[in-house]
Symmetry: C2
Subunit: 365 residues, 2 copies
């Protein structure tokens, strides 16, 4: 999948972004700092990324005339979410460079294919087994054991499309509750911490990883990220190395995030890869205010064929998501010393919806 | 000129900005972080601020139907430059809140009126004398002495509209070279450093000043700003106090910058006010990457009726302007560790034109 190095786009060029959520919005804001324009393409009229760009297309992902015009208006195209339909990505890739390569989407849209890919790189994951639509779940349980987590192979995020199966639960019922679609059963990992590495890879093949981030979830949604993670230097290097290996194996151009489990495994400690997000990631939001170059800017630089930055972290950083009605607390955060507030312009604070985040930088490294 | 406290605008509100340059652009980017929208109004089709907003008006400042529509589209109106025509500001102020109050514009648009205002606050300035269009320059020279600086009362910036008059120069010739318009003659101040204070005042009357910045000019254009300035704590407090006094005397709402001279005056040290910019200011650009809340965000918060932030500086900060063809060096800056690069999307790098800036944060405070 490796691409040849690409010529850098000049300032003033236009980057097309598929998807109009907060990630697209923050990508567009990062591009603007660099004198690059973004054109947002999204099917939802209330897409919050529309508000921060001059040019936008409101159309469905299968609207070929709209995609055609979008491709003509852009110099390069990227995306803010991994579930871009393959047909959309391929249609655009025949017209303009799409980065990262749409083949990466295909691979990461299927949890089983993704896990097989990671395993083929000799990178550790939780034990896993395929569950086909025929429902060979008993076989998978026999192989993996319980407790385990059953996940749909496609279209899961923020805890959607997954079910924990305990020793007393009925695996067949869990499978049916997920719609009897193809799944993957993953052994439950008694992890000590959830961590992630956000890394950028340029079209020249340079990889720059941010410091390992430690993540705290509530109800399967990221709540707090802290950088650096409270893990040993050896583990941190191992985690960053895994992310770099994955980015390079993909021939990836842009930012990706690798979610991992840090295990306390008896006397030893290990890192397992949980999943890959082929895009900027919530656990990298701290880089906007906590580092000299953000994950959003690194992504923009990479897809524009520009050199990556070499970010320096400003201190110990903590990012807290404002989820649903929590956003109504923003006036309190506004006056908190040393705190940076981000509101995504999303309108109604529905439960579970990511409405904004706050970042605090503390003096020590 | 004091305003009553105003209700805070809800997220999603629209702030109108008169002026489409890099200051308007960075204001709009700061507003976007807070979930607020901006509508840019500017008469130049290639205004770089147009690129980062959804809504913009391309029209002259005396186009009343366009101003009328603009006022209807905005919840509050502000400006990015001090030479907004008074008629424009007043036309808009009859329709929507304009912040800061247009009376401040009238005052700071005239160097003589501004100096008289400062002097009335018992704040020290360089000695000055009015030169009317009749050309009573000899009188002014007799009062102030030479060397001195002759400045037009109106429309000067970046060294435009001013002439140094040395002991061997002909003052009358200098006056004619500036077009024989009303001027102010200012005594030359043998300053040790040029410094500035960027301060925000909220509609509730709270004033928050950034750390004093030390500025280095080349050819009358700001080249480098460093924060904190290398002055004593006592001088820094004096400088901040002067800015706060000025902001409060104006009943100001928004960010202003006060340019000052730090003098080494024999054994003593003194601060003199040079001029006031009733807007965000180039010497405050370091706050984007060097502090938890930027000058642009403080201005947006103030005009939206939001509480001000309490910014914490991330370290010692240095901001360098990229002027004219210097911007062509941006690829070198992109890979400099710990460096944040800003390009304003201005197209042709004409000599003297501010094209971008870079900020570096160093570890120590």
């Amino acid at each position: 999948m490796a691409e040849p190095a690409i010529p850098a786009l000049p300032p003033g060029s236009t980057i097309g972004i598929l998807g109009g959520g907060q990630l697209g919005r923050m990508l567009a804001l990062a591009a603007a700092r660099l004198g690059l324009e973004c054109h947002i393409y999204a099917p939802e009229a209330d897409s919050c990324a529309f508000d921060v760009v001059r040019h936008a297309t409101l159309a469905e992902y299968d609207d070929e005339p709209a995609l055609e015009r979008f491709a003509r208006a852009c110099d390069v195209i990227t995306y803010e979410f991994e579930n871009v339909p393959a047909a959309t990505a391929n249609f655009l890739a025949r017209r303009k460079p799409v980065r990262p390569d749409p083949q990466v989407l295909a691979l990461t849209q299927d949890r089983l294919v993704e896990k097989d890919f990671i395993a083929a790189l000799s990178i550790a994951t939780a034990p896993y087994a395929a569950v086909d639509s025929g429902g060979n779940i008993a076989e998978a349980v026999a192989k993996i054991g319980l407790p385990a987590v059953l996940k749909t192979r496609r279209l899961g995020y923020d805890g959607k499309g997954q079910r924990m199966i305990g020793r007393d639960d009925d695996p067949a019922e869990a499978f049916r509750s997920l719609g009897s679609v193809p799944c993957i059963l993953e052994g439950f990992v008694p992890f000590e911490r959830e961590i992630s590495v956000v890394a950028a890879r340029s079209s020249q093949g340079e990889v720059v990883a941010f410091d390992v981030t430690e993540n705290e979830h509530r109800h399967h949604i990221l709540k707090i990220s802290r950088a650096p993670a409270r893990i040993s230097d050896v583990m941190a290097e191992e985690a960053q190395h895994m992310a770099e290996t994955i980015a390079s194996a993909f021939g990836y151009v842009g930012v990706l995030a690798v979610e991992m489990f840090a295990l306390a495994n008896g006397a030893g400690r290990r890192v397992l890869v949980n999943e890959i997000a082929p895009r900027v990631h919530n656990s990298g939001h701290w880089t906007i205010d906590g580092a000299s170059v953000s994950q959003f800017e690194q992504h923009i630089r990479a897809v524009a064929g520009w050199p990556l930055g070499h970010p320096v972290r400003h201190g110990r950083v903590e990012m807290t998501n404002l989820i649903g009605a929590e956003v109504n607390d923003y006036p309190r955060w506004l006056t908190e010393p040393g705190t940076s507030v981000h509101l995504y312009g999303k309108g109604e604070p529905r439960p579970g919806r990511k409405m904004g985040h706050v970042t605090r930088v503390f003096g020590e490294g």
